[in-house]
Amino acid sequence: MTKYIDGFKKYRFLLRELVKKGIKLKYRRSYLGIIWTLLEPLLTMMVLTLVFSTFYQKKDRAFPVYVLTGRLLYSFFSNGTKTAMKSIRGHAGMIKKVYVPKYIYPLSSVIFNFIIFLISLVVLVGVSLVLGVYPNWWTLTAIFPLMILFLFTLGVGMILSTVSVFFRDAEYLWDVALMLIMYTCAIFYDAENIVKKGNGWVFKCNPLYAIIKCFRDAVYGSSMFAEPFWFIMPLCVSIVTVIIGFAVFKWKQDNFILHI
């Protein structure tokens, strides 16, 4: 164990450099640069609000907040897992020539996406205040779903990065899976309607929905622990996913170099 901690300490600087590289290169050569982190969710929110409030004649004034919370969390999950998945092949040049603990690559991918995601939360704060969703003490509990989301994304990212080294198809399959996850996350529709029709099990199987639900509860200033299931389920799933992710990665990492 101490061996791993020493290894991590030694490569802390590399981790930081890779995170910095991810953030810096994401918007390099675009005129607005890092401002896109804020602009992109804002514009998507406008489109989604426009479309769905016209189609479904929503009268809810705070609907944009609802859309934005779901959309921000989902896009972090989607971007984080996708970049982690490609991280091993993307750094093939380094892996082939210098010894570096390989988990650094997916880990740094998830961390840099998480930082961009945290910056984009500024938009949520602004939109909430404008539309009259004010914070209270419960809002502070938002940190729990964010931590769970990070763990979950990391775990899934580690598993996918391992799988995609051996099977390129995984990238395309994962795109399809992400679409399924997106539509079962209640990003732009009301989950209550589906539950009333007796299809609530869809949400109970989706840890990402549970995380979004907890986060929304916090943003709206209510307790996420009222129904403990929605908090405990994603927590347990995330911890298990991270453990499986690191185990699978460790088991297969020595073979990576023969396949990239």
């Binding site: 590289k21 020539k97 210098v98 010894y99």
Partner: protein, 246 residues
Amino acid sequence: MPNYAIEVNDVSMKFNLSKEKVDSIKEYMIKFLKRQIKYNEFWALKNVSFKVEKGDRVGVLGLNGAGKSTLLKIIAGVFKPTEGKVIKHGRLVPLLELGAGFDSQYTGRENIYLYGSVLGYSKQFVQERFDEIVKFAELEEFIDVPIKNYSSGMRSRLGFSIATQVDPDILILDEVLSVGDAKFKKKSEKKVMGMFDSGVTVLFVSHSLAQVRRLCNKAIILEKGRLIAAGDIDEVSAKYEEIISN
């Protein structure tokens, strides 16, 4: 007990060369069901054992495909051997294919930090040596230009300059003494010779027997993945000449 810098114990490395590349699930399933997945086992190294004493400069000789690069990569820790074990004592610096960790969108300045971190340097160390790195690579004017606009000579100069900032205990050289133009070549050779004089242990791969004789005091010969000779340079190089002439 003699002081060893590198101990290579019975190392073997197997590669599975699949006849066709199977990397999609569909293909794999079809082939698996038809039991058509065939691998050509290929042993790049087979039961190689040798020890390098501290301060020795060992030349690794062999024809193309003899397993020299595989051996160096195993010692550098890039490959994990299929069988056997390598024990290293001290800080190892591999000068293999310089600049492998560079990002082409990054500027020279950013790449110095990135590559430094890949080599396991601390941030403070890179900051301290930054000016020296730039000066040695002679890239003062271009340090804020993205690497993709560098010539290949400029890249390898920068890579060499970053990699040689530390005083290693073990140095692995894979024909890198031919970096850049004639002037830089002289400079880099001088730097490497300076390291040699400070008593570093060296593993050196080259096809030029003359260069190996000039730089090394011991040598090993690999042939088709097997170690066929090891010992003093004169003895081994005589044998190598014999092999070449046959």
